[in-house]
Amino acid sequence: MKDNIFNIAKNIFLDTVNPQDYVELESISTFYRTLHACVLKPLKMVLLYGKPGTGKSMLLAKLHDELSQTQKVYLYKTPIIDESEFYKTLAQDLLSVNYEGELNFTQFIKILNNLLSKEVPIILLDEAQLYSNSLMEKIRLLSDTRKLKFVITLHKTDKEDLIAKEHFQTRIWESIELNNTSSEELKFYIHKKLLQASCLDVANMFNNNAVNLIYKLTKGNYRDSHKLLYTLLQIYSWYYEHSPSKIRHNKISTKIVEMAAMHVGLLDA
Protein backbone atom coordinates (compact mmCIF):
# COMPACT_ATOMS: atom_id res chain seq x y z
CA MET A 1 0.00 0.00 0.00
CA LYS A 2 1.22 3.51 -0.86
CA ASP A 3 2.17 5.96 1.89
CA ASN A 4 -0.72 7.94 3.20
CA ILE A 5 0.16 11.34 1.76
CA PHE A 6 -2.66 13.00 3.67
CA ASN A 7 -1.21 11.83 6.95
CA ILE A 8 2.08 13.51 6.12
CA ALA A 9 0.39 16.64 4.83
CA LYS A 10 -1.84 17.13 7.86
CA ASN A 11 1.14 17.54 10.22
CA ILE A 12 2.22 20.62 8.31
CA PHE A 13 -0.81 22.40 9.68
CA LEU A 14 -0.25 21.66 13.34
CA ASP A 15 -0.70 24.88 15.27
CA THR A 16 2.88 25.45 16.36
CA VAL A 17 5.06 28.55 16.25
CA ASN A 18 8.23 27.53 14.51
CA PRO A 19 10.25 30.14 12.62
CA GLN A 20 11.34 27.43 10.19
CA ASP A 21 7.71 27.10 9.05
CA TYR A 22 7.43 30.79 8.31
CA VAL A 23 5.92 31.39 4.88
CA GLU A 24 6.84 34.65 3.30
CA LEU A 25 3.63 36.23 2.11
CA GLU A 26 3.63 39.67 0.55
CA SER A 27 1.59 41.36 3.28
CA ILE A 28 3.43 39.67 6.14
CA SER A 29 6.80 40.46 4.57
CA THR A 30 5.91 44.15 4.55
CA PHE A 31 5.03 43.98 8.25
CA TYR A 32 8.17 42.06 8.99
CA ARG A 33 10.42 44.54 7.18
CA THR A 34 8.76 47.39 9.07
CA LEU A 35 9.22 45.58 12.37
CA HIS A 36 12.81 44.75 11.57
CA ALA A 37 13.56 48.37 10.72
CA CYS A 38 11.86 49.56 13.93
CA VAL A 39 13.93 47.49 16.28
CA LEU A 40 17.11 48.83 14.75
CA LYS A 41 16.06 52.41 15.51
CA PRO A 42 16.70 53.92 18.96
CA LEU A 43 13.07 53.53 19.98
CA LYS A 44 11.73 52.53 23.34
CA MET A 45 8.83 50.30 22.47
CA VAL A 46 7.21 48.63 19.44
CA LEU A 47 3.66 47.36 19.60
CA LEU A 48 2.47 44.51 17.41
CA TYR A 49 -1.25 43.98 17.70
CA GLY A 50 -4.13 42.27 15.97
CA LYS A 51 -6.85 39.72 16.41
CA PRO A 52 -5.95 36.20 17.58
CA GLY A 53 -4.55 34.03 14.83
CA THR A 54 -3.23 36.82 12.62
CA GLY A 55 0.40 35.67 12.90
CA LYS A 56 1.78 37.92 15.65
CA SER A 57 3.56 35.14 17.53
CA MET A 58 5.03 33.76 14.32
CA LEU A 59 6.32 37.19 13.36
CA LEU A 60 7.86 37.65 16.78
CA ALA A 61 9.46 34.20 16.61
CA LYS A 62 10.81 34.95 13.16
CA LEU A 63 12.22 38.29 14.40
CA HIS A 64 13.85 36.57 17.34
CA ASP A 65 15.28 33.89 15.10
CA GLU A 66 16.83 36.45 12.78
CA LEU A 67 18.03 39.04 15.32
CA SER A 68 19.48 36.54 17.76
CA GLN A 69 22.37 35.93 15.36
CA THR A 70 23.54 39.55 15.51
CA GLN A 71 22.41 41.02 18.84
CA LYS A 72 21.00 40.31 22.27
CA VAL A 73 17.35 39.50 21.92
CA TYR A 74 15.16 37.65 24.38
CA LEU A 75 11.78 36.16 23.55
CA TYR A 76 9.22 35.44 26.24
CA LYS A 77 6.43 33.45 24.61
CA THR A 78 4.60 32.82 27.86
CA PRO A 79 3.82 35.85 30.00
CA ILE A 80 5.48 36.05 33.43
CA ILE A 81 2.59 37.19 35.53
CA ASP A 82 4.37 37.71 38.82
CA GLU A 83 6.26 41.00 38.98
CA SER A 84 9.22 39.79 41.07
CA GLU A 85 9.50 36.70 38.92
CA PHE A 86 9.52 38.93 35.85
CA TYR A 87 12.48 41.02 37.15
CA LYS A 88 14.35 37.96 38.34
CA THR A 89 13.91 36.24 34.93
CA LEU A 90 15.17 39.36 33.15
CA ALA A 91 18.12 39.67 35.55
CA GLN A 92 18.98 36.04 34.98
CA ASP A 93 18.75 36.21 31.18
CA LEU A 94 20.21 39.67 30.59
CA LEU A 95 22.85 39.86 33.31
CA SER A 96 23.24 36.26 34.34
CA VAL A 97 22.46 37.34 37.90
CA ASN A 98 20.72 34.67 39.89
CA TYR A 99 18.63 36.25 42.60
CA GLU A 100 17.12 34.47 45.46
CA GLY A 101 14.25 36.00 47.29
CA GLU A 102 12.13 38.96 46.18
CA LEU A 103 13.35 41.43 43.58
CA ASN A 104 11.52 44.70 43.23
CA PHE A 105 11.48 47.32 40.50
CA THR A 106 14.00 49.67 42.23
CA GLN A 107 16.48 46.88 42.87
CA PHE A 108 16.15 45.71 39.27
CA ILE A 109 16.80 49.25 37.94
CA LYS A 110 19.94 49.49 40.09
CA ILE A 111 21.24 46.20 38.77
CA LEU A 112 20.42 47.30 35.27
CA ASN A 113 22.33 50.61 35.67
CA ASN A 114 25.40 48.98 37.22
CA LEU A 115 25.89 45.95 35.13
CA LEU A 116 24.46 46.41 31.70
CA SER A 117 26.82 47.10 28.78
CA LYS A 118 26.23 49.73 26.10
CA GLU A 119 24.42 47.34 23.83
CA VAL A 120 20.67 47.67 24.35
CA PRO A 121 19.05 44.23 24.51
CA ILE A 122 15.63 43.69 22.88
CA ILE A 123 12.94 42.06 24.97
CA LEU A 124 10.16 40.39 22.97
CA LEU A 125 7.02 39.86 25.03
CA ASP A 126 4.28 37.73 23.48
CA GLU A 127 0.71 37.78 24.74
CA ALA A 128 1.28 41.04 26.60
CA GLN A 129 -2.43 41.47 27.19
CA LEU A 130 -2.03 38.95 30.00
CA TYR A 131 0.31 41.23 31.97
CA SER A 132 -1.25 43.27 34.75
CA ASN A 133 -1.71 47.00 34.34
CA SER A 134 0.80 47.60 37.09
CA LEU A 135 3.44 45.47 35.40
CA MET A 136 2.73 47.15 32.08
CA GLU A 137 3.40 50.50 33.75
CA LYS A 138 6.71 49.14 35.05
CA ILE A 139 7.59 47.92 31.58
CA ARG A 140 6.92 51.46 30.33
CA LEU A 141 9.27 52.87 33.00
CA LEU A 142 11.90 50.29 32.11
CA SER A 143 11.69 51.34 28.48
CA ASP A 144 12.12 54.97 29.64
CA THR A 145 15.56 54.10 31.09
CA ARG A 146 16.68 53.32 27.50
CA LYS A 147 18.55 50.36 28.91
CA LEU A 148 16.02 47.99 27.31
CA LYS A 149 13.90 47.93 24.15
CA PHE A 150 10.55 46.21 24.21
CA VAL A 151 8.58 44.65 21.38
CA ILE A 152 5.24 43.54 22.69
CA THR A 153 2.43 41.67 20.96
CA LEU A 154 -1.09 42.31 22.06
CA HIS A 155 -4.50 40.95 21.16
CA LYS A 156 -6.86 43.61 20.00
CA THR A 157 -8.95 43.55 23.15
CA ASP A 158 -9.70 45.73 26.15
CA LYS A 159 -6.02 46.23 26.70
CA GLU A 160 -6.14 48.64 23.83
CA ASP A 161 -7.57 51.12 26.30
CA LEU A 162 -4.35 51.00 28.21
CA ILE A 163 -2.32 51.41 25.06
CA ALA A 164 -4.47 54.33 24.12
CA LYS A 165 -3.59 56.22 27.26
CA GLU A 166 -1.53 59.17 26.26
CA HIS A 167 1.34 58.55 28.64
CA PHE A 168 1.71 55.08 27.18
CA GLN A 169 1.04 56.06 23.60
CA THR A 170 3.89 58.57 23.53
CA ARG A 171 6.41 55.90 24.34
CA ILE A 172 5.32 53.62 21.56
CA TRP A 173 7.35 54.65 18.61
CA GLU A 174 5.87 52.23 16.25
CA SER A 175 2.72 50.16 16.26
CA ILE A 176 1.90 47.54 13.64
CA GLU A 177 -1.51 46.03 13.20
CA LEU A 178 -1.78 42.58 11.70
CA ASN A 179 -4.88 41.42 9.86
CA ASN A 180 -6.28 38.22 8.44
CA THR A 181 -4.98 37.15 5.09
CA SER A 182 -6.78 37.45 1.75
CA SER A 183 -8.19 34.56 -0.28
CA GLU A 184 -5.39 34.72 -2.84
CA GLU A 185 -2.72 34.82 -0.16
CA LEU A 186 -4.36 31.93 1.66
CA LYS A 187 -4.14 29.82 -1.49
CA PHE A 188 -0.51 30.78 -1.91
CA TYR A 189 0.11 30.05 1.78
CA ILE A 190 -1.45 26.56 1.62
CA HIS A 191 0.40 25.67 -1.56
CA LYS A 192 3.72 26.93 -0.26
CA LYS A 193 3.34 25.10 3.05
CA LEU A 194 2.54 21.83 1.27
CA LEU A 195 5.28 22.27 -1.27
CA GLN A 196 7.80 22.93 1.51
CA ALA A 197 6.92 19.46 2.79
CA SER A 198 7.05 18.01 -0.76
CA CYS A 199 3.30 17.28 -0.78
CA LEU A 200 2.84 18.30 -4.39
CA ASP A 201 -0.14 16.03 -5.06
CA VAL A 202 -2.06 17.34 -2.09
CA ALA A 203 -1.17 20.93 -2.99
CA ASN A 204 -2.64 20.42 -6.46
CA MET A 205 -5.94 19.37 -4.94
CA PHE A 206 -6.47 22.83 -3.47
CA ASN A 207 -8.14 24.64 -6.35
CA ASN A 208 -9.76 28.07 -6.18
CA ASN A 209 -13.15 26.70 -5.13
CA ALA A 210 -11.73 24.76 -2.20
CA VAL A 211 -9.60 27.68 -1.04
CA ASN A 212 -12.48 30.11 -1.38
CA LEU A 213 -14.63 27.85 0.75
CA ILE A 214 -11.89 27.55 3.35
CA TYR A 215 -11.46 31.33 3.27
CA LYS A 216 -15.20 31.80 3.68
CA LEU A 217 -15.18 29.55 6.72
CA THR A 218 -12.05 30.89 8.38
CA LYS A 219 -12.21 34.49 7.15
CA GLY A 220 -8.50 34.22 6.41
CA ASN A 221 -7.52 33.65 10.01
CA TYR A 222 -4.28 31.65 10.12
CA ARG A 223 -5.07 29.72 13.28
CA ASP A 224 -8.56 28.74 12.12
CA SER A 225 -7.18 27.83 8.69
CA HIS A 226 -4.56 25.62 10.30
CA LYS A 227 -7.16 23.88 12.43
CA LEU A 228 -9.48 23.38 9.48
CA LEU A 229 -6.76 22.14 7.15
CA TYR A 230 -5.41 19.75 9.76
CA THR A 231 -8.85 18.21 10.31
CA LEU A 232 -9.58 18.19 6.59
CA LEU A 233 -6.44 16.22 5.84
CA GLN A 234 -7.13 13.98 8.82
CA ILE A 235 -10.53 13.09 7.33
CA TYR A 236 -8.90 12.53 3.94
CA SER A 237 -6.37 10.31 5.63
CA TRP A 238 -9.17 8.26 7.21
CA TYR A 239 -10.96 7.84 3.90
CA TYR A 240 -7.69 6.97 2.22
CA GLU A 241 -7.25 4.11 4.64
CA HIS A 242 -10.82 2.91 5.14
CA SER A 243 -12.84 3.90 2.14
CA PRO A 244 -10.59 5.14 -0.68
CA SER A 245 -13.38 5.00 -3.27
CA LYS A 246 -15.13 7.88 -1.50
CA ILE A 247 -12.40 10.41 -2.21
CA ARG A 248 -11.08 11.93 -5.39
CA HIS A 249 -7.46 12.83 -5.76
CA ASN A 250 -7.85 15.67 -8.21
CA LYS A 251 -9.65 18.14 -5.98
CA ILE A 252 -10.71 18.79 -2.43
CA SER A 253 -14.29 17.78 -1.78
CA THR A 254 -16.65 20.48 -0.53
CA LYS A 255 -18.38 17.90 1.60
CA ILE A 256 -15.18 17.00 3.43
CA VAL A 257 -14.28 20.67 3.93
CA GLU A 258 -17.70 21.21 5.48
CA MET A 259 -17.33 18.11 7.62
CA ALA A 260 -13.97 19.37 8.87
CA ALA A 261 -15.46 22.81 9.53
CA MET A 262 -18.24 21.20 11.56
CA HIS A 263 -15.73 19.26 13.58
CA VAL A 264 -13.65 22.31 14.46
CA GLY A 265 -16.70 24.41 15.15
CA LEU A 266 -16.49 26.76 12.19
CA LEU A 267 -19.81 25.52 10.87
CA ASP A 268 -22.84 25.50 13.05
CA ALA A 269 -24.58 22.19 12.35
Partner: protein, 275 residues
Protein backbone atom coordinates in the same frame (compact mmCIF):
# COMPACT_ATOMS: atom_id res chain seq x y z
CA UNK B 1 -10.04 10.61 17.09
CA UNK B 2 -12.50 11.56 14.41
CA UNK B 3 -15.80 9.77 14.18
CA UNK B 4 -16.31 10.00 10.44
CA UNK B 5 -19.69 8.25 10.39
CA UNK B 6 -21.12 10.69 12.87
CA UNK B 7 -19.55 13.58 10.97
CA UNK B 8 -21.17 12.33 7.78
CA UNK B 9 -24.52 12.19 9.54
CA UNK B 10 -24.09 15.68 10.93
CA UNK B 11 -23.12 16.90 7.48
CA UNK B 12 -26.24 15.30 6.00
CA UNK B 13 -28.50 17.01 8.54
CA UNK B 14 -26.63 20.27 8.00
CA UNK B 15 -27.33 20.05 4.28
CA UNK B 16 -31.00 19.41 4.93
CA UNK B 17 -31.03 22.43 7.24
CA UNK B 18 -29.33 24.55 4.58
CA UNK B 19 -31.62 23.52 1.72
CA UNK B 20 -34.87 23.43 3.68
CA UNK B 21 -35.60 27.18 3.36
CA UNK B 22 -34.93 27.00 -0.39
CA UNK B 23 -37.26 24.03 -0.59
CA UNK B 24 -40.05 25.94 1.15
CA UNK B 25 -39.41 29.00 -0.99
CA UNK B 26 -39.68 26.83 -4.10
CA UNK B 27 -42.94 25.33 -2.89
CA UNK B 28 -44.26 28.79 -2.07
CA UNK B 29 -43.28 30.11 -5.49
CA UNK B 30 -44.79 27.03 -7.12
CA UNK B 31 -48.07 27.63 -5.33
CA UNK B 32 -48.08 31.28 -6.35
CA UNK B 33 -47.32 30.29 -9.94
CA UNK B 34 -50.07 27.69 -9.98
CA UNK B 35 -52.49 30.22 -8.54
CA UNK B 36 -51.50 32.78 -11.17
CA UNK B 37 -51.82 30.28 -14.00
CA UNK B 38 -55.20 29.24 -12.66
CA UNK B 39 -56.37 32.85 -12.48
CA UNK B 40 -55.03 33.55 -15.95
CA UNK B 41 -56.85 30.56 -17.38
CA UNK B 42 -60.01 31.65 -15.65
CA UNK B 43 -59.69 35.11 -17.19
CA UNK B 44 -59.00 33.61 -20.59
CA UNK B 45 -62.08 31.45 -20.36
CA UNK B 46 -64.21 34.45 -19.48
CA UNK B 47 -62.66 36.46 -22.32
CA UNK B 48 -63.17 33.60 -24.75
CA UNK B 49 -66.80 33.22 -23.87
CA UNK B 50 -67.35 36.95 -24.24
CA UNK B 51 -65.56 37.04 -27.59
CA UNK B 52 -67.48 33.99 -28.65
CA UNK B 53 -70.78 35.66 -27.96
CA UNK B 54 -69.55 38.76 -29.77
CA UNK B 55 -68.55 36.64 -32.71
CA UNK B 56 -71.92 35.03 -32.70
CA UNK B 57 -73.58 38.38 -32.82
CA UNK B 58 -71.37 39.29 -35.74
CA UNK B 59 -72.32 36.11 -37.47
CA UNK B 60 -75.88 37.04 -36.97
CA UNK B 61 -75.38 40.41 -38.59
CA UNK B 62 -73.23 39.43 -41.51
CA UNK B 63 -74.54 36.16 -42.74
CA UNK B 64 -77.81 34.83 -41.65
CA UNK B 65 -78.02 32.74 -44.75
CA UNK B 66 -78.74 29.12 -43.97
CA UNK B 67 -76.85 26.58 -46.03
CA UNK B 68 -79.86 25.71 -48.04
CA UNK B 69 -81.86 28.37 -49.64
CA UNK B 70 -85.21 26.98 -48.64
CA UNK B 71 -86.86 29.49 -46.43
CA UNK B 72 -89.97 27.98 -45.07
CA UNK B 73 -92.99 30.04 -44.41
CA UNK B 74 -93.69 31.11 -40.88
CA UNK B 75 -96.37 29.49 -38.89
CA UNK B 76 -99.15 31.91 -39.05
CA UNK B 77 -100.83 32.60 -35.84
CA UNK B 78 -100.15 36.26 -36.09
CA UNK B 79 -102.62 38.86 -35.05
CA UNK B 80 -102.20 41.47 -37.70
CA UNK B 81 -101.83 44.47 -35.43
CA UNK B 82 -98.94 42.91 -33.59
CA UNK B 83 -95.54 44.53 -33.95
CA UNK B 84 -93.16 41.90 -35.15
CA UNK B 85 -89.39 42.18 -34.76
CA UNK B 86 -87.48 42.15 -37.98
CA UNK B 87 -86.25 38.70 -38.63
CA UNK B 88 -86.09 38.82 -42.35
CA UNK B 89 -82.78 38.14 -43.97
CA UNK B 90 -81.46 41.07 -45.96
CA UNK B 91 -82.36 40.49 -49.53
CA UNK B 92 -78.96 41.29 -50.99
CA UNK B 93 -77.38 38.64 -48.79
CA UNK B 94 -79.78 35.82 -49.29
CA UNK B 95 -81.65 35.87 -52.48
CA UNK B 96 -80.10 36.50 -55.81
CA UNK B 97 -82.21 38.49 -58.20
CA UNK B 98 -82.58 35.73 -60.71
CA UNK B 99 -84.05 33.30 -58.22
CA UNK B 100 -87.39 31.97 -59.23
CA UNK B 101 -88.85 30.79 -56.00
CA UNK B 102 -88.38 32.34 -52.63
CA UNK B 103 -89.11 31.02 -49.23
CA UNK B 104 -88.88 33.48 -46.38
CA UNK B 105 -87.98 31.82 -43.14
CA UNK B 106 -89.17 33.55 -40.01
CA UNK B 107 -90.22 32.54 -36.55
CA UNK B 108 -93.81 32.25 -35.50
CA UNK B 109 -95.27 35.43 -34.19
CA UNK B 110 -96.24 34.03 -30.82
CA UNK B 111 -92.63 33.11 -30.23
CA UNK B 112 -91.43 36.55 -31.16
CA UNK B 113 -94.04 38.00 -28.90
CA UNK B 114 -92.53 36.19 -25.94
CA UNK B 115 -89.09 37.52 -26.76
CA UNK B 116 -90.36 41.07 -26.96
CA UNK B 117 -92.18 40.82 -23.69
CA UNK B 118 -89.50 39.06 -21.71
CA UNK B 119 -86.52 41.15 -22.61
CA UNK B 120 -85.42 44.04 -24.62
CA UNK B 121 -83.71 42.18 -27.33
CA UNK B 122 -80.17 43.35 -27.60
CA UNK B 123 -79.54 41.70 -30.84
CA UNK B 124 -80.36 44.49 -33.21
CA UNK B 125 -79.84 42.32 -36.15
CA UNK B 126 -82.82 40.11 -35.65
CA UNK B 127 -84.99 42.23 -37.79
CA UNK B 128 -88.73 42.37 -37.62
CA UNK B 129 -90.45 40.76 -40.54
CA UNK B 130 -93.00 43.05 -42.08
CA UNK B 131 -96.32 41.81 -43.14
CA UNK B 132 -95.30 41.86 -46.79
CA UNK B 133 -92.27 39.78 -46.02
CA UNK B 134 -94.29 37.27 -44.13
CA UNK B 135 -96.25 36.32 -47.18
CA UNK B 136 -95.71 32.68 -47.94
CA UNK B 137 -93.26 31.97 -50.65
CA UNK B 138 -92.71 28.64 -52.17
CA UNK B 139 -89.55 26.64 -52.06
CA UNK B 140 -86.76 28.00 -54.11
CA UNK B 141 -83.94 26.11 -55.82
CA UNK B 142 -80.31 26.09 -54.89
CA UNK B 143 -78.62 29.33 -53.98
CA UNK B 144 -75.29 29.54 -55.70
CA UNK B 145 -73.76 32.03 -53.41
CA UNK B 146 -73.02 30.76 -49.97
CA UNK B 147 -71.53 33.14 -47.50
CA UNK B 148 -68.95 31.35 -45.44
CA UNK B 149 -68.82 31.66 -41.72
CA UNK B 150 -65.54 32.72 -40.28
CA UNK B 151 -66.33 32.34 -36.65
CA UNK B 152 -67.61 29.04 -35.53
CA UNK B 153 -68.24 27.69 -32.12
CA UNK B 154 -65.69 24.97 -31.43
CA UNK B 155 -67.32 21.58 -31.22
CA UNK B 156 -65.84 20.91 -27.82
CA UNK B 157 -67.28 24.14 -26.53
CA UNK B 158 -70.72 23.20 -27.72
CA UNK B 159 -70.50 19.78 -26.25
CA UNK B 160 -69.41 21.15 -22.91
CA UNK B 161 -72.13 23.67 -22.80
CA UNK B 162 -74.67 21.17 -23.85
CA UNK B 163 -73.51 18.83 -21.16
CA UNK B 164 -73.69 21.60 -18.60
CA UNK B 165 -77.15 22.49 -19.71
CA UNK B 166 -78.19 18.87 -19.73
CA UNK B 167 -76.99 18.53 -16.20
CA UNK B 168 -79.02 21.52 -15.17
CA UNK B 169 -82.08 20.16 -16.88
CA UNK B 170 -81.58 16.82 -15.21
CA UNK B 171 -81.78 18.48 -11.84
CA UNK B 172 -85.09 20.16 -12.62
CA UNK B 173 -86.35 17.72 -15.15
CA UNK B 174 -90.00 18.67 -15.13
CA UNK B 175 -90.29 20.11 -18.62
CA UNK B 176 -92.11 23.08 -17.32
CA UNK B 177 -92.13 26.16 -19.42
CA UNK B 178 -90.54 27.96 -16.50
CA UNK B 179 -87.46 25.75 -16.71
CA UNK B 180 -87.08 26.36 -20.40
CA UNK B 181 -87.63 30.04 -19.80
CA UNK B 182 -84.48 30.13 -17.68
CA UNK B 183 -82.50 28.72 -20.59
CA UNK B 184 -84.23 31.13 -22.95
CA UNK B 185 -83.13 34.03 -20.72
CA UNK B 186 -79.60 32.79 -20.86
CA UNK B 187 -79.80 32.42 -24.58
CA UNK B 188 -80.99 35.99 -24.94
CA UNK B 189 -78.02 37.28 -23.04
CA UNK B 190 -75.36 35.44 -25.00
CA UNK B 191 -77.00 34.22 -28.25
CA UNK B 192 -75.31 30.89 -27.92
CA UNK B 193 -76.55 28.53 -30.68
CA UNK B 194 -75.93 25.57 -28.37
CA UNK B 195 -78.53 27.00 -26.03
CA UNK B 196 -81.06 27.67 -28.78
CA UNK B 197 -80.57 24.13 -30.06
CA UNK B 198 -81.10 22.84 -26.57
CA UNK B 199 -84.31 24.82 -26.27
CA UNK B 200 -85.47 23.55 -29.65
CA UNK B 201 -84.83 19.97 -28.55
CA UNK B 202 -86.65 20.51 -25.30
CA UNK B 203 -89.66 21.99 -27.02
CA UNK B 204 -89.63 19.09 -29.42
CA UNK B 205 -89.56 16.67 -26.50
CA UNK B 206 -92.62 18.26 -24.93
CA UNK B 207 -94.37 18.29 -28.32
CA UNK B 208 -94.32 22.05 -28.71
CA UNK B 209 -93.34 21.77 -32.36
CA UNK B 210 -93.96 25.39 -33.21
CA UNK B 211 -91.38 26.60 -30.70
CA UNK B 212 -89.10 23.73 -31.54
CA UNK B 213 -89.28 24.84 -35.19
CA UNK B 214 -88.63 28.46 -34.25
CA UNK B 215 -85.59 27.77 -32.10
CA UNK B 216 -84.15 25.34 -34.62
CA UNK B 217 -84.55 28.08 -37.19
CA UNK B 218 -82.75 30.58 -34.97
CA UNK B 219 -79.99 28.06 -34.33
CA UNK B 220 -79.56 27.58 -38.07
CA UNK B 221 -79.36 31.31 -38.53
CA UNK B 222 -76.67 31.59 -35.88
CA UNK B 223 -74.72 28.59 -37.09
CA UNK B 224 -75.65 26.78 -40.23
CA UNK B 225 -73.33 23.87 -39.55
CA UNK B 226 -75.08 22.28 -36.60
CA UNK B 227 -76.45 19.02 -37.90
CA UNK B 228 -78.78 18.36 -34.95
CA UNK B 229 -80.42 21.71 -35.47
CA UNK B 230 -81.33 20.87 -39.05
CA UNK B 231 -82.63 17.47 -37.98
CA UNK B 232 -84.85 19.01 -35.30
CA UNK B 233 -85.91 21.64 -37.82
CA UNK B 234 -87.03 19.00 -40.33
CA UNK B 235 -88.66 16.84 -37.67
CA UNK B 236 -90.62 19.86 -36.40
CA UNK B 237 -91.78 20.56 -39.95
CA UNK B 238 -93.02 17.00 -40.24
CA UNK B 239 -94.86 17.31 -36.97
CA UNK B 240 -96.37 20.54 -38.22
CA UNK B 241 -97.63 18.67 -41.27
CA UNK B 242 -95.20 20.30 -43.65
CA UNK B 243 -93.66 17.14 -44.99
CA UNK B 244 -92.79 18.52 -48.39
CA UNK B 245 -90.91 21.43 -46.93
CA UNK B 246 -89.09 19.15 -44.55
CA UNK B 247 -88.00 16.94 -47.46
CA UNK B 248 -86.77 19.91 -49.42
CA UNK B 249 -84.92 21.34 -46.46
CA UNK B 250 -83.25 18.03 -45.80
CA UNK B 251 -82.31 17.58 -49.44
CA UNK B 252 -80.70 20.98 -49.51
CA UNK B 253 -78.86 20.32 -46.29
CA UNK B 254 -77.62 16.90 -47.46
CA UNK B 255 -76.37 18.53 -50.62
CA UNK B 256 -74.54 21.08 -48.53
CA UNK B 257 -73.14 18.86 -45.80
CA UNK B 258 -73.42 15.20 -46.86
CA UNK B 259 -74.88 14.46 -43.44
CA UNK B 260 -75.62 10.79 -42.82
CA UNK B 261 -78.12 11.55 -40.13
CA UNK B 262 -80.02 13.85 -42.43
CA UNK B 263 -79.97 11.18 -45.16
CA UNK B 264 -81.39 8.56 -42.80
CA UNK B 265 -84.08 10.95 -41.62
CA UNK B 266 -84.96 11.85 -45.21
CA UNK B 267 -85.25 8.19 -46.12
CA UNK B 268 -87.47 7.60 -43.10
CA UNK B 269 -89.66 10.54 -43.99
CA UNK B 270 -90.03 9.47 -47.60
CA UNK B 271 -90.76 5.87 -46.65
CA UNK B 272 -93.26 7.05 -44.06
CA UNK B 273 -91.43 5.55 -41.12
CA UNK B 274 -91.20 8.95 -39.55
CA UNK B 275 -94.41 10.75 -39.28
Amino acid sequence: MLNIYELEKRWFYYKIKVYLPYFFIMIFLGLILTFLVFRLNEKKTIQNSSTLSKEKIEVNTTSITPPNPIIPTPILKIPEEQVVPKQVIPKEQVIPKNEVKKVVLSPSVSFIETIVIETNVTNKDITKPTLEEITPIEVQPVIKKIVKFTAEVPKEEIITRLTEENQKIQITKQHTSNDIAIVIRRFKTNNNPALSLFIAKKYYEIDNFEQSYNYALITNQLNKDIEDSWIIFAKSLIKLKKKQKAIEVLKQYIQYSNSNKAEILLANIISGKFQ
